[in-house]
């Protein structure tokens, strides 16, 4: 079964949410070890100052772990960049829901395709601000809504300026606030989990949010090539777990939990969307049926009168 899966390849769709300059594009290019996407940020004066959140998907086929992945990365330039960011999350939520809707439509067709092209978003990397002491009001607003429709993985990118102690304090604080606000990030506990799964998930929860550094540059350190960032005071090695959590994030997303991310999207988020939609359709039909009956009843009341009239004439 797995071999067919591997041969056919599968869709893996992720969405990046965070203000510009948080390191979204670089992180994605680092995770997939290649220049997959271009930064949508304003790199020159002539670059666009976006007034709303835009949705920019890029699709590529890549080989990961002997699996063919049709990878779609959805960037959201403009998110959180304005002075007034009220509602900046609306286009993002709409995009995610639209993918569920498209899948549902194809699923409901009497004649279905052999395999539906899955554009549903499997993971959302939410980029937190490295300076903040914890969640900001906008983070809470957006995370509440995002966690209802997609698997959310909070990430702290550009971790160059956080010391080890500061990171630990930040992670602790974020977890407290998420719990307080009843926001559930991925991974979710499941009854099907065995001991190994539980241990793995706990380890991930411990690390969350992942404090990472991204880089497409390679340096020579003691004769070995190192992916990193060269500062005047030292080189940060992206792949060194003592420098940042990048290796853990990458393993988590692309090795241990890749299938799970796809499955949970289908079983949890899609199903809840589907239930809501079908319920709405049912209610609409019931309301329409009621209207029809009422109209028919009204017609019947008029009719006897008309016959009487005719008789008199």
């Amino acid at each position: 079964m797995e071999r067919k899966f591997l041969k056919r390849g599968m869709n893996f769709n992720i969405i990046l949410v965070g203000e510009s300059g948080m390191g979204k594009t670089t992180l994605v290019n680092t995770i997939f070890a290649g220049h997959l996407v271009d930064s949508q940020g304003r790199r020159t004066v002539q670059g666009p100052q976006r007034k709303t959140t835009e949705i920019v998907p890029t699709t590529q086929v890549i080989e990961e772990n002997n699996v063919t992945l049709r990878l779609t990365v959805v960037d959201t330039p403009g998110f959180g960049d304005q002075t007034n960011n009220e509602g900046c999350w609306v286009p993002v939520i709409k995009y995610i829901k639209d993918q569920h809707a498209a899948y549902l439509e194809r699923e409901l067709k009497p004649q279905r395709e052999r395999s539906i092209n899955d554009t549903r978003v499997h993971a959302c990397l939410y980029f937190l601000n490295p300076g903040s002491k914890g969640l900001r009001p906008i983070d809470i607003e957006v995370l509440k809504r995002l966690t209802e429709v997609v698997n959310v993985i909070p990430v702290l990118a550009k971790a160059d300026s956080t010391t080890v102690e500061e990171r630990a304090a930040f992670k602790k604080r974020i977890k407290e606030e998420l719990a307080m606000q009843r926001i559930q990030a991925y991974p979710y506990p499941s009854e099907e989990d065995d001991e190994e799964d539980i241990a793995l998930n706990n380890k991930i929860k411990e690390l969350s949010p992942f404090a990472v550094v991204g880089s497409e540059n390679v340096f020579n350190e003691n004769g070995a090539p190192v992916r990193g960032r060269r500062h005047a005071w030292g080189i940060i090695n992206v792949d060194n777990p003592e420098h940042c959590d990048f290796v853990h994030l990458r393993n988590f997303m692309l090795r241990t939990h890749l299938y799970d991310l796809i499955e949970v999207t289908a079983q949890r988020h899609y199903e809840s969307f589907r239930t809501q939609q079908l319920r709405q359709i049912k209610e609409m039909r019931a309301a329409q049926a009621q209207n029809a009956t009422q109209m028919a009843q009204q017609q019947q009341q008029i009719q006897p009168g008309a016959t009487l009239f005719k008789q008199q004439a």
Binding site: E19, S20, G21, M22, G41, R42, R43, T44, V45, G47, Q49, D81, Q82, T83, N84, N85, E86, N129, P130, G131, S132, K133, G134, L135, R136, P137, I138, I140, E141, K158, D160, S161, T163, V164, R173, E176, E177, A179, M180, Q181, R229, R230, H231, A232, W233, G234, I235, I236, N237, N240, E242, H243
Partner: protein, 284 residues
């Protein structure tokens, strides 16, 4: 005055500048309150220091809450009102018949604006703020948490920022404003202007170095020395603020910015008065 979104190191900067804890660490709020938007505050801190033989009474106004909400439009208005009200107080005091010899001048001489190290130039919030405030106060641009950037990235970011400043004609403090100064000073000022925005890294930790105690931030991959000019512009900015240019900032505020404000205000009053007179004439 310190302006910048939270997390850019305003508090640490002042404490590092004065070499003591001027602004205490913020009280950790309840995690329950994270979703509450905190209104912007104006917190005043006073400290005294001796710099190169001169006694400086430093008043720092911190503005926590700036840009931290979802809708940040009111932040500019509040800042502008605060700065203008200091001017208004002086205007009032000047026009008194009996003036207070002990009057304390609260005009803001420098506004240190902390930029977020995004790598994408100025943000809409920054552009709007500087546009509005630059005519009332000397604005100096700083890059907070500059240890996020590599050396190349800092150079690129500085270029992006200054290009934005030119394109949007942003009124930041121009170090070369005094054409009457001697050529040596002029050249020095031009060099300083080329360093703007100043890349800042601040810190609380002191360790023993080769030549005595040094202030550092320690990472697994290396140690940032705050006072090392190759690693941060902090030392240079400190010298400019408290030593070489301190009188320039005060001069420019009092003799140029305030005077422009005063002229504008008095003209407005005159227009109002002459309109009132005209109305009275018409009525007659």
């Amino acid at each position: 005055m310190l302006v910048g979104v939270s997390g850019l190191g305003r508090r640490t900067f002042v404490n590092t500048l004065c070499e003591r804890e001027v602004i205490p660490p913020p009280v950790a709020e309840d995690p329950e309150m994270a979703h509450m938007v905190e209104p912007m505050k104006f917190n005043k801190y006073e400290t005294q220091m001796i710099e190169d033989g001169t006694n400086i009474f430093l008043t720092t106004v911190d503005t926590p809450g700036y840009g931290d909400g979802i809708d940040n439009y009111s932040c500019f208005t509040q800042l502008q009102e605060y700065i203008e009200s200091q001017f208004d107080e002086v205007l009032l005091e000047e026009s008194r018949i009996r003036r207070n010899s002990k009057y304390k001048d609260n005009r803001v001489h420098v506004l240190l604006y902390f930029l977020t190290p995004t790598g994408h130039g100025l943000r809409e919030l920054d552009i709007e703020a500087i546009k509005r405030l630059g005519h009332f106060v000397n604005i100096i641009l700083l890059i907070g948490r500059a240890d996020t950037f590599t050396t190349d990235e800092i150079a690129l970011f500085k270029l992006q920022v200054m290009k934005d400043v030119m394109t949007y004609e942003l009124p930041i403090y121009n170090f070369g404003w005094d054409d009457e100064s001697d050529p040596e000073t002029l050249e020095e000022n031009q060099e300083i202007q080329a360093i703007v925005p100043f890349s800042i890294v601040g810190c609380d930790e002191v360790v023993d170095g080769d030549y005595g105690s040094i202030r550092v931030r320690r990472y697994p991959w290396g140690t940032v020395e705050i006072d090392n000019d190759d690693m941060s512009d902090f030392g240079l900015l400190r010298y400019i603020l408290l030593n070489s240019h301190i009188s320039d900032f005060i001069d420019y505020t009092n003799n140029v910015l305030y005077e422009e404000y005063r002229t504008q205000k008095l003209n407005e009053n005159k227009d109002d008065e002459s309109e009132e007179e005209k109305e009275e004439d018409d009525e007659e």
